[in-house]
């Protein structure tokens, strides 16, 4: 699913590893979500949204 993780991560100068460590998943998972190879579960999607301080539907774009 299309998402804004790379954009929001870049704004904060965070690496994928930084995001992974903050939400409790592996760096490979963050990369796979970012590159749309893998859709996260709801708990992980909500953790990502809380991390970037936006709503889930603003982070993941249903196109």
């Amino acid at each position: 699913m299309k998402n804004r993780i790379a954009e929001l991560r870049s704004e904060r100068a965070w690496t994928q590893a930084d995001v992974a460590q903050r939400i409790g998943v592996s760096r490979q998972t963050v990369n796979a979500i970012e590159t749309q190879k893998f859709d996260p579960s709801l708990p992980v999607a909500f953790r990502l949204a809380r991390l970037f301080e936006i709503r889930v539907d603003e982070l993941f774009l249903d196109e």
């Binding site: 460590q21 409790g24 990369n31 796979a32 893998f38 992980v44």
Partner: protein, 137 residues
């Protein structure tokens, strides 16, 4: 299953991995005991041989529980990769195993050691995990 909170996720995975390693070693050791100990005491102690075999099976059941807990402790993408690999392994073992049974019954192939199946499954599993890791790289 709920994903554990970030602070606990890494610790939970490490604990589960340690547990799996311990029970894998225990199962391997009990298998070696069941296989080779009877050769030391011969046919004179069938009860001891049965005990060694039952110990291996019991440890094996605990290993299964440990494996399940390890899968549940994994990061969700890693868990998907492992579960996909397990599905491929089960399917390949089922298909190839029964294929071998009918081919051997028809005299098309020679009898193969029963150890060939777990070795085949291990190879298939490793290839499937590698494929999953590459797919989601």
């Amino acid at each position: 299953m709920q994903t554990p909170p970030p602070a606990d996720a890494y610790k939970a995975e490490m604990r589960a991995t340690g547990g799996l390693a311990v029970w894998t070693l225990a199962w391997t050791a009990s298998l070696a005991l069941a296989r080779f100990a009877p050769e030391l005491w011969g046919d004179s102690r069938p009860a001891a041989t049965w005990a060694a075999v039952m110990l291996n099976v019991l440890v094996g059941f605990v290993w299964i529980i440990s494996l399940t807990r390890w899968l549940q402790a994994l990061d969700e993408l890693q868990r998907k990769i492992m579960q996909d690999a397990l599905a491929v392994t089960l399917g390949a073992a089922w298909v190839i195993g029964f294929g071998y049974v009918v081919a051997e019954a028809a005299g098309l192939v020679d009898e193969v050691s029963v150890a060939a199946l777990p070795v085949f499954m291990a190879v298939v599993f490793l290839v499937a995990v590698a494929a999953g890791k590459i797919r989601y790289r």
